[in-house]
Amino acid sequence: MTLSIDQYAQLSRWRERPVLEKALLAIGMLLLAISLPPLPGAPCIIVCVLGVTLLDARVPLRLWLRHAVIPAGFLLTAGLTMLFDIGRHGLSLAPAGLSTVGGLLLRSCAGICCLLLLALTTPVTDILAGLRRIGLPREIAEISLLMYRLVFLLLDTASAMHIAQAARLGQRNRKQQLRSLGLLLANLFPRTMDRAGRMENGLAARGWNGEFMVLRRTQPLSPLRLTWTSLLLGSVLLVGSLFS
């Protein structure tokens, strides 16, 4: 099993760009999205961010869509809840709900666009390094880095286990599925801890003394791109707050 977002981020055209540049754009837009009124802020952000994602970072539309639909379930449940009213006469359409839900829909879409721009161009480890620089405690950053590495090893193991169970009809019915999943996790947990123990040995052999020092190669910031990004953020802020 692979995580396609990670895979894409690792191979992204923007992979080498400094995290700060990418974060300024994506998180800046994200903050605008939740701060500005949905109209006309959200559509502006969607157009800008999606445009950059598809045209400049060259994320394939199909890949983008596949991940953009993931939160749809949440949007549907929570949105529908707000659309309807439970009153004396049972279920009825909430009169004021429509515009609120419409605005919410737009803002959530803008949020997803920003999140995906960051996620599809920046590997998690780069983001962790960035967070470390702005004050994430060293221990937590190191644990997260190891976590990232272990996640892929565990996913491979878990997916092999799942295949093995399915081959022996472990997914026959719902009850059996639950039992199989339980057995899988119970088998995975000690193996995870084993794996951690062996990694500890492997790193000790390389002189590990409890701190992870690695040499990072970073590209210099591009003043040009920073200027453009700031201009873009500024104009969205202006349009979003003036015309609402």
């Binding site: 993931i70 959530s108 976590m147 639950l178 999943l181």
Partner: protein, 207 residues
């Protein structure tokens, strides 16, 4: 089910970040203390976090479709303690947002509060209570996991109701509406998670 990116207004995002921060800080303090004694614990904590993430990436058989996955809250709280879970939970939520597009960055504070603070503390409290009452491990574990799960969803409902109170009935009506929808969809999941946790603990005991 986490609150998605962009769903909460800025004020609420900030408020939930602020509420969660002390718990996170306490967790960091606790982890630092553990690491000062045993530097190697780094690896075990990372393994626990990775396990929790993988857990959340697996689909759980349920009635409601693809959004359901085990939260592992109860299991984690009982095995690692609720303080540590606040930090591991934050990392898992960050990974979920960035690797799975599940949850979000601005809503991370709110999700952290429901999933990695309320859930684990409820689970942990119930577990301790049941143990004191002398109930069996299986029953205690089931209750801890299932109700911890449910507490997470109740918290999420309250968070949504606070952000989007009903135009007519206000916060309470909205809370009941969100709570009702989530209860309907999540109670079976909470029960499934409770049973799953019992199977896991049982099989682990056999190892």
């Amino acid at each position: 089910m986490h609150i998605m990116e962009g769903y909460l207004p800025a004020k609420h995002c900030l408020a939930w970040y602020t509420v969660s921060a002390p718990f996170f800080a306490a967790g960091v303090w606790r982890i630092r203390k553990i690491l000062a004694e045993r530097p190697q614990a780094r690896m075990n904590l990372a393994a626990a976090g990775a396990f929790a993430f993988v857990l959340s990436a697996l689909k759980m058989p349920s009635v409601t479709g693809s959004c359901s996955h085990p939260t592992g809250t109860g299991f984690g709280a009982v095995v690692f303690g609720p303080a540590v879970m606040a930090v591991l939970g934050a990392m898992v939520l960050l990974f979920q947002a960035l690797l799975l597009a599940h949850g979000g960055l601005t809503t991370l504070g709110a999700n952290l509060f429901s999933m990695a603070i309320v859930g684990p503390w409820v689970s942990y409290g119930l577990w301790k209570l049941c143990q004191r009452l002398g109930w069996s491990v299986a029953v205690s574990m089931f209750l801890a996991a299932a109700l911890g799960d449910l507490a997470t969803y109740v918290t999420t409902s309250i968070q949504l109701a606070l952000a989007y109170p009903d135009p007519v009935g206000g916060f309470m009506t909205a809370a009941i509406k969100f709570g009702g929808i989530f209860a309907l969809t999540q109670v079976p999941l909470a029960i499934a998670e409770g049973m799953l946790t019992v199977v896991v603990m049982d099989a682990l005991a056999g190892k």
